[in-house]
């Protein structure tokens, strides 16, 4: 199968981006260097192409009720212009996808789903739609029509209002983008097109994600680089996106989450609402909770100088292989090996000594509290 390219493919080439395969897409892993781009986002600002991610729109009088029957979090908590992190679970409590759901109007929702999961998610949603004629729900896969960029870093607020001028036109009512609070979303016009700006991200820094028609994404990207010039904004690739999210322990589908791993095991129970009523996977998740989890996600740090831990490396405790690393890298902020992995619940307490097997040898590590990196 040939790789898909985003509308920014030529922009990445011109910027010297090194392109790799990710979830069926040809995406930039880096432009200058992963460490350089990582530090740039931690200290100032970076912009990421996230057009590969999927978008679906759900509308209608029955939208909230239906979404609540397939998603783990309680969508009724959302005021207009607010978003939440949530999960799509299967009947066994495994995770079909993790996503962001925004309520963009009274009965209208915008869901941002993972690139590698667009097909399975859309099929899953469609299979679970209410029977035609029973309730008013419209489901539209907008993944091809819409694109998105993420503008991230502590200095983004210094120039973001120059990009999106005037008050928001829908969603959360604000007079400027910087008035949006965490997880709030507002609509602006960009050259006549409706765009959605959400204060969220995947880096642990302040920032915004902008969802817009694919036709204007390149213009938006170029204007972002121009407006952010004053704070030395840099284009950033998936490499930095991965080190940034790993430091703050945000899950990446296919690593921390998959169809046989539940949000509870991933330590994301906070985002599962059991008291909202029935939803797909609820029974299995309650049973998991009652019986006790078989595995738990932990964050860890290597002790001393070692090779970086990598996904798939075995985790050992007291001479026994007890689990597996699912994400691992050299932390550019902490300058040591860090990672996330699954271990039996008894070994999940911060401070627990473990060992990571790297090329046949075991090296000491320690379970640490999440997030691994916290802003000073």
């Amino acid at each position: 199968m040939s790789l898909q390219r985003t509308v920014l493919y030529h922009a990445h080439q011109q910027l010297g981006g090194k392109l790799i395969e990710f979830g069926g897409w040809e995406m930039p892993v880096q432009y200058s260097s992963i460490v350089d781009e990582h530090q740039c986002v931690r200290r100032a600002a970076g912009v990421f192409d996230i057009c590969h991610m999927g978008e679906v729109r759900v509308d209608g009088a029955g939208a909230a009720e239906w979404l609540n029957s397939v998603l783990g979090n309680d969508i009724r908590k959302l005021a207009i212009g607010q978003g939440q992190y949530t999960h799509l679970c299967n009947e066994q409590g495994g995770t079909v996808d993790d996503l962001y759901a925004y309520r963009i109007a009274s009965t209208e929702y915008l869901l941002i789903i993972n690139a590698s999961r667009i097909e399975p998610d859309v099929a899953w949603f469609r299979a679970h739609l209410p029977k035609p004629g029973t309730t008013d729900v419209t489901f539209v896969d907008e993944s091809a029509r819409l694109g998105a960029i993420a503008i991230q870093g502590p200095r983004v607020a210094e120039f973001i209002n120059a990009l999106f001028q005037g008050p928001s036109l829908a969603g959360t009512t604000v007079t400027a983008a910087t008035e949006l609070k965490k997880n709030q979303i507002g609509a602006w016009k960009w050259k006549g097109e409706e765009i959605w700006v959400a204060r969220t991200g995947y880096t642990g820094e302040d920032g915004f994600e902008v969802v817009a028609p694919a036709t204007i994404i390149e213009d938006l990207w170029n204007q972002t680089l121009a407006a952010g010039h004053t704070v030395c904004i840099q284009p950033c690739g998936l490499g930095a996106r991965d080190t940034l999210r790993t430091e703050v322990c945000y899950p990446l589908y296919g690593h921390e989450l998959d169809e046989i791993t539940s949000p509870l095991e991933a330590g994301l129970g906070f985002f599962v609402s059991f008291d909202k009523g029935e939803f797909v996977g609820r029974t299995a998740l309650l049973a998991q909770k009652a019986a006790g989890l078989k595995k738990r996600s932990v964050a860890f740090r290597m002790i001393g100088k070692t090779a970086p831990p990598r996904p798939g490396y075995p985790i050992w405790s007291n001479g026994v292989a007890v689990g597996t690393v699912v994400s691992g890298t050299q932390s550019p902020s902490l300058n040591c090996g860090i990672g996330l992995g699954y271990v039996p619940p008894g070994l999940a307490e911060p401070g627990t000594p473990i060992e990571i097997e790297i090329r046949g040898r075991r090296f000491p590590a320690e379970v640490v509290k999440k997030p691994i990196y916290r802003k000073a």
């Binding site: 892993v29 992963i34 460490v35 490499g239 090779a307 970086p308 990598r310 890298t329 050299q330």
Partner: protein
């Protein structure tokens, strides 16, 4: 980005270079390889005294993103390793042909050197 390909070295397809003097080969990774890897964060070197065959994986270089095997371009005994690059892996990026070299090997089959790529052949392989 153009990469340096010094004229006095021989090269392996897998992006290692060899400098031979008095039956001893010094081995490292090329400027092209360090550009491709970027941000070398860890280098694992072979044990001194180990005998390796040409093409055998005997060191590992790790960037933030990935771990890559380093293959000895020639056969022989490892007689020295560069502790400086193990202590400061960034040397593989900043001085790939000098301070960032990996190890030295006493050639057991000196003729193998003739089978390695010339600077011109390596340049055309990497499109430099």
């Amino acid at each position: 980005m153009s990469s340096l390909v010094p004229a006095d070295l021989r090269y392996a397809k897998s992006h290692e270079w060899v400098r031979v003097a008095n039956g001893i080969a010094t081995v490292g990774i090329t400027d092209h390889a360090q550009h491709e890897l970027t941000d070398v964060v860890f280098v694992e070197l072979p044990a001194v005294g180990r005998t390796v065959a040409a093409g055998e994986a005997c060191a590992v270089v790790e960037s933030v993103k990935t771990a890559s095997d380093i293959y000895s371009p020639v056969s022989g005994e490892i007689i020295a390793v560069n502790k400086a690059v193990a202590d400061n892996p960034a040397l593989a990026n900043s001085e790939p042909y000098t301070g960032g070299h990996f190890f030295q090997i006493r050639l057991s089959k000196p003729a193998e050197v003739e089978g390695l790529l010339s600077p011109a052949d390596y340049s055309s392989q990497i499109g430099a």
